[in-house]
Symmetry: C3
Subunit: 204 residues, 3 copies
């Protein structure tokens, strides 16, 4: 039904890691197993759903429910693992960073078919990467990662921009995808581990 | 314009009770009459709107504004009644429970036409039932009922699963609808009156 | 690509003022330059995006990215201006009021093509005007203007109703547009400067 491409592998992988981050957030808030499955699923499919709605396309998980299966199974395994072993808090940030990197390049790839404005393409990439985690944070009553001082949306912006620039230079798309995702991931990991943030211009 | 079926009656009834719950929430927050009409309407049409958007269909209340009329009239009557008489707090929970039961089976029924994945159908049923009340609670600054410890989404899940199982066994759809709604309603009422919740596995 | 009509001018102007209000809100919360650009853009295109999604149309800024350019440029200029000069708090309320007035009549105009229910048309007008600012306030952790006691959605309601009544009396549409916007703007400004609110019926 679905051709088995690099992008599809990436997409299922991103679904899995975002579901893990959602289930970890649910565990921290002491939600029950259904809460974890729900929060994991919403985190995993939220960004892509908004992307498909804005592009006026059929929503991906209604066409292909594999995404839902993966999200629920990953959430449940994570929920039980988090009860058995103590999982360091950085794991949530790490899985969120991987999901951000993967979903940003997927958002860019899908939007390239519908718009030739690179500006629209980059915005849709950022949105696809950012929105799932934002819903997770709002529902679990945390300040959304994207609104904190550290580099977050900026990492998605850089990855998406590099993807688009490479794509525009006729570089094969699989290379653009890998490069874009790596750049977002590296920037975001650097922000987590070295506490990077953009300078804020002070009030004069 | 719209055939007068069991489902349509249910739908108008659910619209009415969800609008009541929204107007009661607005009254508790001392909003004015327009706030009550707005919160009642958003609660009543929120879940179904998201369902139609995800299914890439025309939104039901744009095609048939009867839903809007009913939501606004029910909200306003409730608003004035709540000013005249003191309405017990359980009435909000009760109207929310009825709305949850009715909209879950309507979500299942509509999605059955577009997807043959029972998993997608059940998720869409839960979402249709849950989202209107969630928007109401977020806008009136309450912790969403769906995120509290008591059984809530689980009641919708059980009702939707029974509906789908019966439907799959060639049982007439009107029976599936009534059975699914009753199961959701009974579970949810039991949760309200006996304070049921799912056991949470403690940290080891 | 896009005919240069009164409505299009209004739309670009509304995009600009709503982006200014979003960037000012970001500045008050001490977000960085990307936060200001993001909040300004979301404020400027949020209401119209929901309108197009509910009408099952292609989202306007995906078809015509000019809106995005204007929103980002206006946000950035505002961000730097707010750092250089001290901008009075009323400027945010003022730009929000202008955006509300402009987007309400645009919401009405676009919906008139898809629905002949004046009730649906008025609701869509209010929603187009109100939702962008609501997202801005939620993301910057303020109580949404629309939920406060002052007249807000009511101003949009009056403007939309006058537009529809005039349109129904065969008055030329450009006149309806200007009259509807002026009425919303005047009501809202009066509410800001004289602190108008609707009377609330007290508990008996």
């Amino acid at each position: 039904m679905h051709e088995f491409t690099l992008l599809y592998c990436f997409d299922l992988f991103g679904t899995c890691v975002f579901a893990i981050s959602g289930a970890l957030a649910a565990g921290q808030k002491r939600m029950d197993i259904f809460g974890a499955a729900a929060l994991g699923t919403v985190t995993a499919v939220g960004g892509g759903s908004l992307r498909d709605i804005l592009l006026n396309q059929n929503v991906f998980w209604i066409i292909n429910p594999t995404y839902l299966y993966i999200a629920v199974i990953a959430s449940m395994i994570t929920y039980f693992a988090a009860r058995k072993f103590s999982i360091p808090k950085k794991v949530l940030l790490l899985s969120d960073a991987i999901g951000l990197a993967v979903f940003t390049v997927i958002g860019v790839s899908k939007t390239l078919k519908f718009s030739d404005s690179f500006y629209v393409v980059i915005i849709m990439g950022i949105m696809t990467g950012v929105v799932g985690g934002m819903i997770r944070d709002i529902l679990s009553n945390e300040v959304p990662l994207v609104l904190r001082k550290e580099i977050y949306a900026t990492a998605a912006l850089l990855g998406a921009a590099v993807y688009v620039a490479m794509y525009n230079s006729q570089i094969p798309q699989s290379l653009c995808i890998v490069a874009g995702a790596m750049i977002t991931l590296v920037c975001r990991l650097a922000a987590i581990f070295f506490n990077w943030s953009l300078p804020i211009i002070r009030h004069s």
